[in-house]
Amino acid sequence: MSDRIDLYRTMRTIRRFEEQIVTLVNSNEIAGVTHEYIGQEAVAAGVCAALRDDDVITSTHRGHGHVIAKGADVARMMAELLGRTTGLNRARGGSMHIADVSLGIYGANGIVAAGAPIAAGAAWAGVQAGSDRVAVCFFGDGAVNQGVLHETMNMAGIWNLPLLFVCENNGYAVSFAQEDATAGSLVGRAAAYGMPAEQVDGMDADAVAAAAAQAVAHARAGNGPSFLECTTYRFVGHHTAEATMGLGYRSDEEIERWRERDPLLVLGARMAADEVAAVDADVEALLERALAFARESPRPEVSSARDYVYASGPAPREGVAV
C-alpha cells in the first residue's frame, strides 16, 4: 500500500542521509557537530505524513529528519551542511538552523523547546487567515522540563490553537535519563492543560501516522491542540562528537535491544522485499546526486559575511573602523 511505501521511503532517506552526514562530519567535510536522528525516523515520517505543504513545523537541534519528512530538498540540505551557497540557508544556518520557510519549516533550533511558541504563533496566524492549516512543534523528552513549553501549552489551550505537540521520548536528554529528569508522566503534563495526550509507539511509523492523522484532523476541525508522546530511541550518540567521549550513560545491551525494533525493519517487515529493495535503490541514487550537487556548489564569498542580518537599514558594522 503506497502510504506505507512513502513512509518507508522517507525513513530510508533520513537514515541514509544521516549515515552520510556522520561520515562527512568525521572526515571534516562538514564543520561543527550534528545531532543524528538515526533510530527516530518513524516519528518524523509518521507525523509529517499527516501534514500539507502549508502546514508549519518547528524542529530541534536534531532536526534533519523533520526537515526531510516535511519535504525539503535533500540536495540543498546537503549543500547547506557542506557550507555551500546553494544550501537551503545559503550556508548561514548549517545543521542546527536548517529551514525552508517556503515549505512551512520554521527551522531547526539550537535552543531546546524554543520552537514551541514559534509554532503557536504560526498556528494562530493560520486561524486568523481563515485557513485550516495546523502547526506542529517537535521536541524531545528533555524539552518537557523547559518552562516555555508549559507556557505554550497553556496558550494553546486557552486560545484553542491548531497546534500539535510532538514529544520524541528517546529516553535521554544527552546523558540524563528521562525517568530521572521527569516528575509525573510526559502525557500527564499535557493532559493538565486539558488537551488530548496520547502515548504512541515511536518505532512504528504506521502507528505514528495513524495517531498523527487523528490529532491533525482534530486540530483542522477547530478542536484545538493535542499532544503525542512518541516513545523512541536514538541508536547513536547525542551528537557526532559523543562517539569519542565515552560518557557511558547507557549500555550496549540497551542499544541492541532497541535496534531490534529499528523502525526500518518494523515497517520493512510489512512490505514486499522488492518494494523495499526498489526504494532503497532510489534513495541511494537520490543521495548520490545530492552529495554531488553539494560538492559542486560554490562556497560563500567572504565579502558577504555581513549579508542577510537585517531586512532593511545599514549593514552591521565591521569589527574595525573603516
Partner: protein, 330 residues
C-alpha cells in the same frame, strides 16, 4: 496639528497603523484594559483578536509573536516593565534577531517590542528601574528610544513597519511630555538623529528623557556662561546615526554624552569610543560622558536620584570641555 502627550502620541500611532494595516496586532499583559495607556480603547474599537491579553508568559508570547510574524503578521509586543525584557531575552536576541541571518534571508521578522515606561520612576526600586537599551544594541537588535511626542509617533510607526525586530523604549520620565504632532505626521526613518538645538562650542548627545535635561542645561549655560551647546539626539540607538554625530562634532570639536544606561559598556561608552577612534582629528578636548552609575537603583528616592545622570553633572562636564587646558591634548 495637535499638541499631545508622548503617551497619547504612542496610542495614536498604534491606532493609525492598526487602521492602516490589518496585519498589525498587539500582544501583552493587560493590554485590553490598557494598564499602560498605549492600547486604550482599541480592544473595543478593533476587536479582541487584535488586542490580545496574554497570560504571564513572557518567553512564550515573545516567541509566539515571532511565529506570527513569520506567518505574515506585524506583532507589537508590550512589556509592562523593562526587566521583563530579561525574561524574554532569549526569544528576542537569540531567536527573532538571528533568524533572518540563520536562514540566509529566507524570512523577515517584523516584531516590535515596546516598553511604555522604561527607566527609573521614583521609588520603584531595583527591579523596576532598568533602562537596558544598551544590552539590545550590543546584541545587534534595532533599538529606539524616542525623546518627544512627535518622535514617539513617527518612530513607533517606523518600528512597526520595519521588517526586522525592533525594541522600543518609551522612557517613563518622558511619557508626560508634550509636543505638537502634525495631523499628517509620518514615519521617521530609524537611524536618523535630530538636532534639537544648534550650537558652536560643544556637542551634547542625549537620548530619551535626557534630551529635555540637555536642552535645559544648554539654555542655562548660554545664559550664564555664553557657551553655545548643540544638542544631538540619535533617536535610534541601533542603528546609530554616525554621520549625524560626525557632522556635529566636526562643527563643535567637543563632545559630551549623557546617557541613562549603566556606565560600563553603555551607550555613552560606544559613542565616546567611536568618536575617540574615528573623530579624533576633530576633537579639541577629550570627550566626556555622564551616565547612570554602575549600580542597581535603591528604593529611597534620594539614593535613586544620586545614581542617575544629572543636569549638574552635565553642566560641569560641558564647562570642563570648553575650558580644557591644551596640555590635556599634548
Amino acid at each position: 496639528m495637535a499638541r499631545m502627550r508622548y503617551q497619547q502620541a504612542l496610542a495614536r500611532a498604534l491606532r493609525d497603523e492598526m487602521l492602516r494595516d490589518p496585519s498589525v496586532f498587539v500582544l501583552g499583559e493587560d493590554v485590553r484594559a490598557s494598564l499602560r495607556g498605549v492600547t486604550r480603547g482599541l480592544a473595543a474599537e478593533l476587536g479582541e483578536q487584535r488586542i490580545i491579553d496574554t497570560p504571564i508568559s513572557e518567553q512564550a508570547f515573545t516567541g509566539f509573536a515571532m511565529g506570527a510574524a513569520l506567518a505574515g503578521h506585524r506583532p507589537v509586543v508590550e512589556f509592562q516593565i523593562p526587566s521583563l525584557l530579561f525574561t524574554a531575552f532569549e526569544p528576542i536576541v537569540n531567536q527573532a534577531q538571528k533568524f533572518r541571518l540563520m536562514t540566509g534571508g529566507q524570512a523577515k521578522v517584523p516584531v516590535t517590542y515596546i516598553v511604555p515606561g522604561s527607566g527609573a520612576r521614583m521609588g520603584l526600586a531595583a527591579q523596576h528601574s532598568d533602562h537596558p537599551y544598551a544590552l539590545f544594541a550590543q546584541a545587534g537588535v534595532k533599538t529606539v528610544v524616542p525623546a518627544t511626542a512627535s518622535d514617539a509617533y513617527g518612530l513607533f510607526l517606523a518600528s512597526i513597519r520595519d521588517d526586522d525586530p525592533v525594541v522600543f523604549f518609551a522612557p517613563a520620565a518622558a511619557l508626560g511630555s508634550r509636543e505638537e504632532v502634525a495631523d499628517d505626521a509620518d514615519a521617521i526613518p530609524l537611524g536618523v538623529g535630530r538636532v534639537h538645538r544648534d550650537g558652536e562650542d560643544v556637542t551634547v548627545v542625549a537620548v530619551g528623557h535626557l534630551v529635555r535635561d540637555a536642552l535645559k542645561v544648554a539654555e542655562a549655560l548660554a545664559e550664564s556662561d555664553g557657551i553655545s551647546v548643540e544638542v544631538f539626539d540619535p533617536r535610534t540607538v541601533h542603528p546609530f546615526d554616525w554621520d549625524g554625530l560626525a557632522a556635529s562634532v566636526r562643527k563643535t570639536g567637543r563632545l559630551v554624552v549623557i546617557d541613562d544606561t549603566n556606565r560600563t559598556c553603555g551607550l555613552a561608552a560606544e559613542i565616546v569610543a567611536t568618536a575617540a577612534e574615528e573623530l579624533a582629528d576633530a576633537l579639541v578636548a577629550p570627550p566626556r560622558r555622564i551616565t547612570r552609575a554602575d549600580a542597581p537603583i535603591p528604593f529611597a528616592v534620594e539614593l535613586e536620584v544620586a545614581l542617575l545622570p544629572s543636569r549638574e553633572q552635565l553642566a560641569a562636564a560641558i564647562r570642563s570641555v570648553v575650558t580644557v587646558p591644551q596640555e590635556a591634548l599634548r
